[in-house]
Symmetry: C2
Subunit: 153 residues, 2 copies
């Protein structure tokens, strides 16, 4: 039986998570995206390359459609999203990433890859793979939940 206090485990996971996210956003800020917040990554992920609607986005993020609408407003003002009418359904407004949005998504993925490579050099690729595999084992391989926005609070 290990003697490590149990409450340290979530803290260590969170520190790792936070360092990765902070590193990505520091680099993105350096490259011309100073207004992106950690939360926006989840939003981009929830919108996806194909776009979606405000209602569907709200469902994926676990918030009301109104809250999703406000989030879209903000990212639209920053130039990362655009709204387009759906020719097949006059009620719907398709929310899509702009070129700038696609660019930042692609760039984020690259930076995450680089950061993961750094981790691999520090603890070794084997240990990193083991770490990831163990996390999957213990948390279950469920699809990632994006409903983070109101989760803290």
């Amino acid at each position: 039986m290990s003697t490590e206090a149990g409450f340290l485990l979530p803290l260590r996971l969170f520190v790792g998570f936070r360092q990765l996210i902070d590193a990505v956003h520091a680099e993105l800020a350096r490259e011309g995206h100073p207004d992106l917040r950690p939360l926006h990554g989840f939003v981009f992920q929830a919108i996806g390359r194909d776009g979606t609607t405000a209602v569907e986005l709200g469902r994926r993020l676990g918030v009301s459609k109104q809250a999703a609408g406000k989030t879209i407003d903000g990212l639209e003002r920053l130039g990362y999203l655009e709204r387009a009418s759906d020719p097949a359904d006059a009620r719907r407004k398709l929310v899509r990433l702009t070129d700038r949005g696609h660019a930042v998504l692609t760039r984020s993925a690259q930076i995450f890859d680089e950061l993961r490579a750094e981790w691999a050099t520090r603890i070794g690729p084997e240990r990193l793979r083991a770490l990831e595999a163990d996390l999957v084992t213990v948390t279950g391989a469920e699809a990632f939940r994006l409903d983070v926005p109101g989760w803290f609070g």
Copy 2:
């Protein structure tokens, strides 16, 4: 070189973190503490067994003293904190955990221990120790930063 996409790493860390936090709060809610939010754990941790002041709490949480004051108001209303005048300094108001506050902190630690034991049975105690050690190696053994409140947003 591993082929795992880099952006999955922070997600896996976050899922682990979130599952632990959610499990603790689900159990606490079951035991009569339905109003506690994930964030409150950081607040309790920042206050500590000995108590602090609003200004110092704000420093530890990385927020203004006014924001710290509001947070204290809320947890005071819920019966977890109490304010007491400092006999040695009439300006200061000592913020301390109530008996209820101490109880929930102790209980949380127990639950975290139980959850860690569960993880140990699923991936084995050595792998769990390795996971924790690797996280420390890669993130640095820095003291835990509690300045989480405004971090997302």
